[in-house]
Symmetry: C2
Subunit: 380 residues, 2 copies
């Protein structure tokens, strides 16, 4: 669970997650039977996959049954990775974390499925079809392509456009669970939550049906807050193992990047969330205001050092901006030792982030027109 | 609520429903605000519709907003009638009662929609697709056509084949009701009941959408046990009146014909339910065993008379077999006065029923091949 296990430098061990947060994750993992991601490293070697940056940095920290998927892959079976986005806002760096994982698995031969959850957006947020399709294609699909997801190896689909077998699955699932079982997983249920949960289970499991490709070995990368959907889908897979030949989906777990004020990152809090389409001056202003782990005065900071673990700008470095470990380690240690102050440190990251945004936004225009071509969008 | 209000004969008033049962119906009507069907008779006159046999016989006894539909019709607006069948068993005389109403309204210019509830059959009874389609087409659609429903003016559809807008409606509805509201209407909810209720609401309301014809004036003929679906759909129509321009559906209420033992008629109790495809000798055997209102001995029956209200064979006469009122009245009075014994009376009805079944089954073969042509069935 270290950024780079082997990296020690000047007596400071690089372990930005050895805080209370990580203890909570450990407890959650034990409670729900999630296993450490390191366990699958030998299997990654076996199938010729490198470890991803997010694994090595402890951001992708756990999994369920990823070993089974990798073993299937080593036997030459087809494997897939699947995720969903609700087209209800703009694409931000929290979304990028998931897409980075899609790209990592895709480049290792996994087929990718991306659900645009327009039904959910409509039911939950009253986002009408025209808007959901536009956001889904121009924000989500386009940004994913611009980030490097290969559209030829990706199936993007809208929930309301997925066809007969998919809807049948939702109906079918509803018949084999009780309300008490759903409440045990999800807490108090509303009709909308029942529908949303059944729909998410269909999203995760339908690619196992022959009609949708018959992918029996599917990984779903999620934040731990999404684990109820994984557990529900795994339960349903067990219950329909015979009737529909379903196999439990696998999952990976990643930490959720905080917003720039230390609270939840969300499209609905745009002042603390950097979007991949933010104009550079807007993104810069957000970054410069980010909550850091700095001390009250410059003197104090030089004497005591900063706390990168508390710094939301360092989160940006860790998750996205400083992709070279040496660079990340240097910034971490410079902060810890009080060799650098927050303003200066932010500008350092901003230079790199600015370059990333400029290049990304250049690719985005072309990606947008491609997105409209490849997505089978519902008519509106 | 009389078979024929004006028919009095030999001092015996023909009122086969002035029993406890009718008092229960009256109470139900008051509780739920269902109005007597007689109220709409002047409007039927106004739009040039005769009263149906089932109305005049007190079988179709109530309605909600049928007056509004008839007024719309008198203004030249398009009107429709809609019903659904679960393709889980064979087509029996209980089903025929509903189809008779479809035919009555169709011949007065109503567009007909028939839902084959294959999703529900699958979720509730595990009837797989191939079987559901075969039963739906060959049992339900074919029998309806053979009974006289005009397939050119009827849309038959399967729930799993109804397309995007229909499924979207289900999602959408789920977002605007609470579990407490559903429980107030349906009692304790399971996930399957949530799905089934939302799906039934979509079945009833989707024909109001432009994509499905834009029929704003829709009647749903139901037994009073199905009234929760009507109330739920009317609630949802109110909630989506602005967003989707939905109007409350109207309904008619009919009494449920009992099985031949006096209990519920059901495909799952074939010995007390006559199917329209029963070979004559099978149907005859069932009818001859039917529970009647006869007395313990022939002598007693001649002295006291029988009780046609308690006779399930008389139900067959009333609902289906004796379509001429004079004939029904004569049988009723002969029984009441002890002029006829049960065995003889059954044979009398059997002759007529046999003729009906023979002619129906002759039409059925042709109707079957037509059914396969006109129904857009899901692939399996």
């Amino acid at each position: 669970m270290h950024i780079v296990d082997s990296t020690k430098s000047g007596g400071v061990t690089l372990d930005p997650w050895s805080s209370r947060a990580i203890k909570d994750y450990k407890r959650l993992m034990e409670t729900f039977g999630i296993r450490g991601i390191q366990e699958i490293y030998p299997l990654l070697d076996k199938v010729g996959m490198r470890k991803s940056m997010h694994m090595l940095r402890g951001i992708v920290f756990g999994h369920r049954d990823l070993d089974k998927v990798l073993e299937a892959k080593s036997r030459g079976e087809r494997v897939a990775i699947l995720t969903g986005f609700m087209p209800s806002g703009r694409f931000h760096f929290g979304h990028k974390l998931t897409v980075d994982q899609l790209i990592y698995f895709q480049r290792s031969g996994f087929k990718v499925f991306v659900v645009i959850a327009d039904a959910e957006a409509y039911a939950v947020r009253r986002i009408d079809r025209e808007k959901a399709v536009k956001i889904g294609v121009e924000e989500y699909v386009a940004n994913m392509i611009a980030l490097g997801l290969d559209p030829r190896e990706t199936t993007f689909y809208f929930q309301t456009n997925r066809g007969t077998e998919y809807y049948r699955l939702i109906q079918l699932f509803s018949g084999k669970v009780t309300m008490a079982e759903m409440e045990a997983i999800y807490g108090e249920m509303s009709p909308a939550k029942v529908m949303a949960a059944l729909t998410q289970a269909a999203d995760i499991l339908h690619v196992e049906l022959e009609e949708y490709g018959g992918f029996k070995w599917v990984v779903v990368p999620v934040g731990i807050d999404q684990d109820p959907h994984i557990r529900f889908s795994r339960d349903l897979a067990d219950r329909f193992s015979r009737e529909l030949n379903l196999v439990r989906p696998a999952s990976t777990y990643h930490k959720l990047q905080r917003g720039l004020d230390g609270d939840k990152m969300s499209s609905s809090r745009p002042e603390t969330t950097i979007f991949l389409t933010d104009p550079p001056e807007v993104a810069k202003a957000k970054l410069m205001k980010a909550l850091t782990g700095g001390r009250a005065t410059a003197e104090e900071q030089r004497r005591l050092g900063g706390i990168p673990e508390a710094c939301t700008k360092f989160d940006m470095d860790l998750y996205h901006v400083l992709t070279r470990d040496e660079e990340l380690t240097r910034i971490y240690n410079d902060c810890r030792r009080g060799h650098i102050l927050c303003g200066e440190c932010k500008l350092y990251s901003w230079e790199r982030l600015e370059k990333f945004l400029q290049e990304h936004q250049k690719r985005l225009e072309k990606a947008k027109s491609m997105a409209w071509k490849i997505v089978e969008a519902p008519k509106f």
